[in-house]
Symmetry: C2
Subunit: 359 residues, 2 copies
């Protein structure tokens, strides 16, 4: 008998580039790529020239990081970017011009009308139309709630969101984590936190990426100052929610607050819909929505907290209540790992969606 | 010349009893009584029998704690209670029957229609009508925002509040503070907070008064479970805000969340009014309102945080923005020391108000 020909899979598998492989989200990305079904041919790791030559493990193999150059995108089918806005703004179009579909996790292209902003559980169809060859990944704070809100919107028709965030320090990168850990070393074992400024004096002037001490504190600020006192992070949640849900006139009010949690953003959401809602109906939707875990039984001590949610993929939802004074509004408490669904996971899901389309 | 007669002040000064003098709020109360103008004759310290005989400093003198008995209220003009609800429910009427005006900081009487619920900056007149001889002090979470909201309501007419809290552990008493401090010792110097359940395993089962670990975490729960999934703390903020502001049909939605801060509650507030508002007008009101500090200049890094506010008396307000999609709504971030204005200070202010009326 003639032996069966070698399966022609290997040559047709797409080449993936991970740009920003050494960062906080990049590190989680490599772990996700190692866990997910392996659909990729080559996985090329790209970072700034100072990280070039480092070796990182992905799919159980050591891969050498190459420097970010135009040539690095040679033969790449899909390039995931996890780099600062200005680096994306410069390099994503270069990668796209080299023929790669770019999945970008910066803010550079999210509001570009020619760039779709995609959450695979909510608007997967949007990823197919990409005039610039770029697909944008939403901000981590938007992503921490939007899967749950998308499911409720599909059923009830969302009209208004009032959101308050409890954002983890890893949203500010590894520097944020180091800052919190360093400060915890200074306040643990003390009786600080009861007199004006005592935490600030103990922590000193170096508060890392934050504008105030973060140990034993909360900071009502994330991002840069925009018009009329809004922070960039607050406007991102508003504008991105509108674009992803396809409701351009959605009313959205957001206040972003940083809390001393390492990883996993939490949000309180007051969501007003077109018609009356019930908790039972909302439970029914949330308990079957892809990517959502309903964890809502306070009598049994069941509500999500970052300590339980960190390291997991879904959006966790608890504390579902109907507003006492408005039968069209629900209150929810939502947690999502800002480095997984809030960053690397959603980017990987978009890349997998596009890989399936290209194949 | 005949010498002037001795001033008759001393005998007419009212006798004050502090019931619960050894607790978290009681301790702050003794410090406030030592700092405020001394209008009191005797200050009698009352606590549970197991604390009787302890000596505590007030007005620079050591005072022996006496046990809570009916006789302990003999000759008392005003009795401040800072004890659990059931102790207040039992003993406040006994003190009132002995002729004392009771200022009670428990939840036992707050919603009693025959008991006024008083914030001296907002509704001082209410303290004069007290059919049961009892005046109630609001919950610490309500108090952390209500002075600011009262000032805005007087100008703009409040219609709706959507509130999310960032509540300090001392709201759960000294046990809450000890629990956070013990847990910080266990997580400082580690790389915990990045894997599901790693903080929980490090902290162990003893989470003190909380239902989850509080170090490196936030917990969307405060109080006891009430109907339809609401917590008692959330309903208190709703019902007390309505009563204090005198707006029985005010729409109020609250989600209460505990954060790893020792003392000072923070809240985000989405406040909708009868008519259009502007940030300039709101700033004007808040900058002159008694008991309020406006600290709102993000360009200069100015917004309140618990680390700065702890140990101070006022309600601090920052991040004032007009809702982008609703010209009748403001967003605010508010901080108040939950043991001072949120507890001891407001109680002392009510007692001083009544002392002035009695004299």
């Amino acid at each position: 008998m003639t032996p069966a020909p070698t399966a022609p899979d290997a040559p047709t598998r797409p080449t993936l580039a991970v740009v920003g492989a050494t960062g906080a989200v990049g590190t989680v990305m490599l772990s996700i790529l190692s866990q997910h079904a392996d659909i990729w041919g080559e996985i090329r790791l790209i970072a700034s020239p100072r990280s070039a030559g480092r070796k990182l493990a992905v799919r159980g193999e050591e891969v050498e990081v190459v420097a970010l150059t135009e040539e690095a995108f040679e033969g790449v089918d899909i390039a995931m970017f996890d780099v600062p806005d200005d680096v994306s703004a410069q390099w994503a179009p270069i990668a796209a011009a080299k023929g790669a579909v770019v999945v970008d996790n910066s803010a550079a292209f999210r509001m570009d009308p020619d760039v779709p902003l995609v959450v695979p559980e909510v608007n997967p169809h949007a990823a197919r139309v990409r005039p610039r060859g770029i697909v944008a990944n939403p901000n981590c704070t938007t992503l921490s709630m939007i899967v749950a809100m998308g499911a409720l919107h599909a059923e009830f028709g969302l009209r208004e969101l009032v959101v308050s965030s409890y954002q983890a320090v890893s949203g500010a990168g590894l520097a944020g984590v180091e800052s919190l850990r360093g400060q915890l070393n200074l306040v643990a074992g003390t009786d600080l936190g009861t007199k004006p400024g005592d935490v600030r004096r103990a922590v000193g002037d170096d508060t890392g990426p934050f504008r105030e001490p973060i140990a034993l504190n909360v900071i009502p600020w994330a991002g840069s100052l925009q018009d009329d006192g809004w922070s960039s992070e607050e406007l991102k949640v508003r504008n991105e929610s509108r674009k992803i849900l396809g409701v351009p006139d959605l009313r959205v009010s957001v206040t972003c607050v940083r809390v001393p949690v390492v990883t996993t953003h939490s949000l309180t959401v007051h969501a007003r819909f077109e018609n009356e809602v019930t908790v039972d109906h909302a439970h029914e939707i949330l308990s079957t929505a892809p990517g959502v875990v309903l964890f809502d039984n306070p009598a049994a001590g069941e509500f999500p907290t970052p300590a339980d949610v960190v390291g997991t993929d879904p959006t966790w939802v608890g504390r579902v209540r109907r507003a006492l004074d408005d039968p069209t509004a629900l209150e929810l408490f939502v947690c999502g790992d800002n480095l997984r669904k809030g960053g690397a996971l959603n980017t990987a899901q978009i890349a997998e969606l596009i890989a399936a389309e290209l194949s």
